[in-house]
Amino acid sequence: MIIGADEVRHVAKLAELAVAEADVATLATQLEGIVAFVAQLDEVELPEGTGVTTVGPDQLLLREDRIDPIPMSRTAAEMAPEFREGFFVVPKLGGLAEG
């Protein structure tokens, strides 16, 4: 088994996703099923020098250095769940270090 309850909790923490303890076991089973399914790729031998697929253009097109912001019909203040004195506001960082 690759994904157990601990892995679910660890990955949920990395993804900042609350997962109810009651759901952990079910999720572990489902994720294990998915991981077992994608593990089919283990049987594929990648020939030496296999690149990765790039879709879209082969190279990056750049834009000119001009001040040309995309206009917005609503302001940051209008969209924000909490906005004070010109700032987005969030609770203190708690478990996330400052800096």
């Binding site: 660890h10 790729l41 690149g51 924000a80 708690g94």
Partner: protein, 461 residues
């Protein structure tokens, strides 16, 4: 017909679809329709004048909400408009409402919407396919003749097949993604539904072309349709044997056999070919896509927009976890967890890097076949006709396998489309054409010839 008349007519049809309980639309308003129509009537006509086009609700609009069928974006109205929407307006189209979808386009049945499942207009007990099920249902129900959906791994072709309409995914880089809420960025394509091949084709022409706001669009001119063909003479159509397994649904097989016979009658050379890595497409897809999705969905954190929830600890982490934990539905949460897992320390090489390599092999399979003189591939779009609601919701992997014939072209970035090829027990069947990179014009002209020779209502067995 004036745009004002079209707006009234379209509103009436939306209301009828609502009354049937299709649940295909997340937002539409007669006011917005009328206002847009007034603007259109004041402008010279364009290639899409007189055409109402519905939008999948993961394409951002300024005057209507964009929710991606997720509670995490409930009430969100974008302050800017997607490039494809501006291009539709410029072509004279009437923007007609926002269609329901699987939450953040994650699903194959449109049962994952936070705002309820979409019903297949052909059989209300069945799913319309997904994730663009709302757009497909609106076109199938005759509410609009065209609709925009989005494809990441078949999310337009598969519902087109289930609902008996035309669905076309363009080449990656043909159409701007600016304003399409990102899901799997290296796979995402704004795609089109049409009542007919021509409806899909002209809608695609209007939205195609390079966009300076999307660095992944190619610097090519907008698509122009080829002169109409009357037959398929001179074309070589490949039949990849991996798409016709022994256990293929007999109705699908019968439909494909009839179409293949027709392709021969119309003068094309039919050739069996092999795409040996086909069976790895779905597992590859379910690594690449969740990895990209997990990163793309990190921005929904309750800081700058959207609803905010805060857990009992009251700190920032409690805000993140509650906003995201409560805002995302089960399939989205699963994909975020899988995507985070396959990129996490110690696993990236085994999963993500491996999948990128296999993706290359899948793409090379197509290149080899097209370089051998094959012009187009013909395959079934789906392994079965539309299944019943609830039939596959318990097992994510069974649901994922519904995309087995559509995922490969998405991974390779190739243009592909589904068109109706008949019915089995009253349910629509879809046949798929896959073309070389940027081969949409040839694919559409061939599809148009087939369309004229196929009765989509005919029972295939």
């Amino acid at each position: 017909m004036s745009a004002a008349d079209l707006a009234r007519e379209t509103g009436k049809r939306f209301a009828e679809a609502d009354a049937r309980g299709l649940n295909a639309t997340l937002h539409w308003s007669q006011d917005v329709l009328d206002r847009d129509a007034a603007l259109l009537d004041a402008l010279p006509s364009g290639p899409l004048s007189g055409t109402a086009v519905a939008l999948k609700d993961n394409i951002v609009t300024r005057d209507q909400p964009t929710t991606c069928a997720s509670k995490i974006l409930e009430g969100y109205v974008s302050p800017y408009e997607a490039t494809v929407v501006s291009r539709l307006r410029a072509a004279g189209a009437l923007i007609a409402g926002k269609a329901n979808l699987d939450e953040f386009a994650m699903g194959s049945s449109t049962e994952n919407s936070a705002f309820g499942r979409v019903k297949n207009p052909i059989d209300l007990e069945r799913v319309p396919g997904g994730s663009s099920g709302g757009s497909a249902a609106l076109v199938a129900a005759g509410v609009t003749v065209a609709a925009l959906g989005s494809e990441t791994g078949g999310s337009v072709r598969q519902p087109a097949a289930f609902c008996g309409v035309v669905g076309l995914k363009p080449s990656y880089g043909r159409v701007s993604r600016f304003g399409l809420v990102a899901f799997g960025s290296s796979l995402d394509c704004v795609s089109v539904f049409g009542k007919t091949v021509a409806d899909a084709g002209r809608t695609l022409c209007a939205i195609s072309g390079h966009d300076p706001r999307d660095a992944t669009t190619r610097q090519v001119a907008p698509l122009v349709l080829a002169e109409g063909r009357t037959d398929l003479r001179g074309l070589v159509i490949g039949l990849p044997k991996e798409y016709f397994p022994d256990d293929l649904h007999p109705g699908i097989r019968a439909g494909c056999d009839a179409t293949i016979a027709l392709i021969r009658e119309l003068g094309a050379e039919v050739r069996e070919v092999s795409l040996p890595h086909t069976r790895y497409a779905v597992p590859t897809y379910y690594i690449v896509n969740p990895a990209e999705a997990a990163a793309n969905l990190a921005r929904f954190d309750g800081v700058r927009y959207g609803p905010r929830k805060i857990g009992p600890e009251g700190d920032l982490r409690a805000l993140y976890r509650a906003t995201r934990g409560e805002g995302f539905g089960p399939e989205v949460r699963r994909r975020i967890l899988i995507g985070t897992f396959v990129l996490s320390a110690g696993y990236a090489g085994q999963y993500y890097n491996k999948a990128q390599g296999v993706r290359r092999l899948i793409s090379d399979d197509f290149t080899r076949v097209f370089e051998s003189g094959v012009d187009l591939l013909f395959t079934p779009t789906t392994p079965t006709p539309a299944f019943k609601a609830g039939e596959k919701t318990a097992d994510p992997v069974q649901m994922y396998l519904a995309d087995i014939f559509v995922a490969p072209a998405s991974l390779a970035g190739l243009p592909a489309m589904s068109l109706p090829i008949g019915r089995d027990g009253g349910l629509p069947l879809g046949g798929q054409l896959i073309a070389p990179d940027f081969g949409e014009a040839m694919m559409l002209s061939a599809a148009s010839v087939l369309e004229q020779s196929i009765d989509p209502m005919e029972e295939v067995r």
